[in-house]
Amino acid sequence: MELKTKIKAENNKQEIHITREFDLPVELLFKAYVEPEIVEQWMGTKVLKLENKKHGSYQFETTDPKGNKHRFNGVIHEFNPTHQIIRTFEMENTPFPVQLEYLEFEKLTGDRSKLTIQIIYKSVASRDQMLQLPFAQGLNMAHNRLEEIVLKLG
């Protein structure tokens, strides 16, 4: 299977790079980050606030399968249409430190584009912890299922 999304996470560094090429003109790729209704669709979040400008801020909200709401927010430091967004990202009510994100939008051809996201974390440990979140969630799901099975046996 072709890996379209690539993650570069070198050992002992407090940053990662996410790269992805899209079958989309760069204008449309950028739009997907700007229009609240579109952001909501692909991120699976509710957009509470999204000010696309320098010194603007954003706040999104997700609802997990149990119905718990999780909010995250950040400040927009640079907003350069079809080229770049620099912003912070912070999960509210969690011990995770704020992170800094550089999003670079690049035109490849008239209908192809590339997105490179560089994320800088407070420490190597906090980076690794963020990377492990989806992995840990997957394992928890497996664990919950095992509990169900054990309960059925009992």
């Binding site: 989309l24 739009k31 492990q132 969630q137 997957g138």
Partner: protein
Amino acid sequence: MKSRRDVFQAIADPTRRAIITLVAIQAMTPGAIAEHFGSSRQTISKHIQILTECELLEQEQNGREIYYHLNAIKIKEIANFIEPFRKLWEERFNKLESIMKKYQADK
């Protein structure tokens, strides 16, 4: 040769993850595995077949019985802790791409 099944697709199913957890403790026959679940034996055999096709489980003949055990090399592949993170973004970006393609077509 490309495997017909994707490992990550295989472990996306909770019953299959539970089978992996069982077999991780000791090699088991299909019958012994099936006893741990409420589903039919046929359903469990299908899950075992999928796990075998993507090489997460390996067969071992012991007398007349076939035992299944874990393939440690393949497990290491899924234990790559960054993969679920990458998968998450892959899915989001796939969604972004299809939404924007539709948006483009509708214009």
